[in-house]
Symmetry: C2
Subunit: 389 residues, 2 copies
């Protein structure tokens, strides 16, 4: 039998990162590749108690079909939190999604025709490239400097369906945009008639000082803003949300309905029960303290072990260091030697829509212990020294 | 600002049924419109106990990111259950989805190009039309008779990307295909080179005798088979799955990854913990007994109250009676009068991809009590008598 697939299926391919992660599952490997939150920071006890209350007080409602928009009290809680960040956040414009990955898929579905241009940072989040890719866009990378995408670069991508931005501790680069750059990007996007899709999975994971207000706070109806409970609570719940402009919300809602009817009401009620009385105000600082110590361990290990010619910035939040190797080295080609030596990372090239940048790699500092970080970076340093020799 | 949307957004429209359901939320209305399972049949106690065990034994794992394919023990459990139905069900070909609605979306994403023909029954499930619609197919309705789609009709739709079939107690018609018809359809599809997408949300809800083996059991690698826990356990978990041919599985998996990374691992572990020791063997018969009594109440009420000229079959399972009114009546036009009288239903026309059939309507018998069914059908009968007069 011949199954004739859609043309877009050609662009659906195994995630490079997931393939790499399989290599790193051998026992004894120090994996700095994954982007998993540290599971021993999950508030299992608080969640178990909240879940018991949901079953006791509204078990039948939690297990029944529910509204496609999401659970109303949770939408109100999210809106209040966003208002505190300077966003014009009407609960009626909050759509609860099955993880923020689904938000990216819905944006792609509603916004992208085959051949539409979509502007992205260079590098950018691989999962967004995958989500959008299913709708067959042409990606265009925006010129950037050490401070992020250059506002002057936005005129060149006018006419793109939107620009996708991760201003806070970006995956993979760890970069956080300054307040000045955010305001300038919002103004340049408005001048170019370029809508903004802003993604903020990591904004609460700051270690030095809170990030500036979102780009969307300066963009009025010109932005979709996405967020998630995956990094501050737990990813296994698959709970995210988006704040959408009035012009777009009805179509995103209808796309959501067609995609999975609604995000599990059970999960939404549990999360609301956990967060409603200020739990995150106590809990998130414990994650910050843990991850900040991990980051400092990685910084120290990098300074000790990486050979001359490697460059990195110390991230002020998030989960990743981004390393530029000396120009001649190829992080993809070096990976087998690193895995053989006992350490894994993610090569940086797949994060660039336009290819190139073979000499970059991403290191996660949140999943393994500071001791393991020291050991892994020492092994990585050895591999790089041998390759440079 | 102008948000330029994708062309497909024009085809994303509010669900007619959801709009109707809003009308029926007035207090005092007997709603026979919704397709919600009876919430007092949800096994809240068993689920609460299973959830407590998941937190106790594997809380961190349940709350962490997980495999896109789904939780391995659950996939094995599903495969074993399908093998008992006569399907060639390798766990490696089971993909866990966020409700079976997501399965329909993923099939559409991987299989449908703009303008592709998709063959459907007449009538068919509205949610499938919505999911596929986002990928801009041309729907073609297959000729049918009282026994379902006619095998002789499949040659006329050769070249379609697939035929979408609901052989068990179809939503909306309640129809269940005979074993003979299933075998003939599988053979005719193979002869026409037409892949099958078979959807089975209702198969366990049989009231007289179990349905015959799936069409897919006769179709080898020529079928995708979708199922769900929504009707036998609870829909608020959003847990479904599909069994896909080897040729299609990798692309469906990659589409799943792009769509929401994975279905909540938390929910998958809870459901596995509930079902693993045979719980459904005790639980589903209680749902069957409850719904069978509701069906019998509706049958009796229809016989008593509906005027001459109305036609229906008694469904042997599922959730719906399907009524044909005398040719001159329009169920959509009559709905406001029915709601004013205190009863709601869903007009049948939206379930037909090709339009027409204004004189049909769908009645759900599972959500309201037998007493309310009697009252609602009496009111409906009065409205229809007045309209016929």
């Amino acid at each position: 039998m011949s199954w004739q697939m859609a043309r877009r299926a050609e662009r659906l391919n195994p995630s490079t990162i997931r393939e790499i992660l399989k290599l790193t599952e051998k026992p004894g490997i120090v994996s700095l590749a994954g982007g998993l939150p540290a599971a021993d920071g999950f508030p299992v006890g608080a969640m178990a108690e909240a879940t018991a209350r949901v079953y006791r007080d509204s078990g039948r409602e939690a297990l029944q079909y529910a509204a496609s928009e999401g659970y109303a009290p949770l939408r109100e809680w999210i809106a209040a939190r966003l208002a505190a960040k300077g966003l014009d956040a009407d609960p009626a414009r909050i759509l609860v999604t099955t993880g923020s990955q689904q938000g990216l898929d819905l944006v792609g579905k509603v916004m992208i025709d085959p051949g539409s241009r979509v502007a992205v940072e260079s590098p950018t989040y691989l999962g967004a490239l995958q989500a959008f890719n299913a709708y067959e866009p042409e990606f265009v990378a925006v010129d950037g400097d050490d401070e992020g995408p250059r506002p002057e670069g936005l005129a060149a991508v006018a006419g793109a369906r939107f620009i996708y931005l991760l201003p806070n501790f970006q995956n993979p680069s760890g970069r956080c945009l300054s307040d000045e750059r955010r305001r300038a990007l919002a103004a340049a996007a408005a001048a170019a008639g370029l809508p903004i899709v802003e993604d903020n999975p990591y904004g609460d994971l700051w270690y030095d000082q809170p990030p500036p207000a979102p780009v969307s706070a300066h963009a009025g109806d010109n932005a979709v803003y996405l967020g998630s409970f995956s990094k501050v609570l737990a990813p296994g719940l698959r709970l995210g949300w988006m704040l959408a402009p009035r012009a777009l919300f009805p179509k995103l809602l209808q796309a959501k309905q067609a995609a999975d009817l609604h995000t599990p009401g059970f999960n939404q009620r549990i999360v609301y029960e956990v967060v409603k009385d200020g739990f995150l105000e106590q809990h998130v600082p414990t994650i910050r303290a843990r991850y900040a110590a991990h980051r400092d361990a990685m910084r120290a290990a990098l300074e000790t072990h990486l050979p001359a010619g490697c460059r990195w910035q110390v991230p002020s939040g998030g989960m990743f260091f981004w390393i530029e190797l000396p120009a001649g080295l190829d992080a993809t080609a070096l990976l087998p030697a690193a895995v053989a030596a006992g350490v894994a990372y993610v090569p940086g090239a797949p994060f660039f829509a336009g290819g190139g940048h073979a000499n970059t790699l991403r290191l996660s500092f949140v999943t393994v212990s500071p001791q393991q970080i020291e050991r892994g970076i020492a092994l990585l340093g050895q591999v790089l020294k041998e390759a440079s020799a």
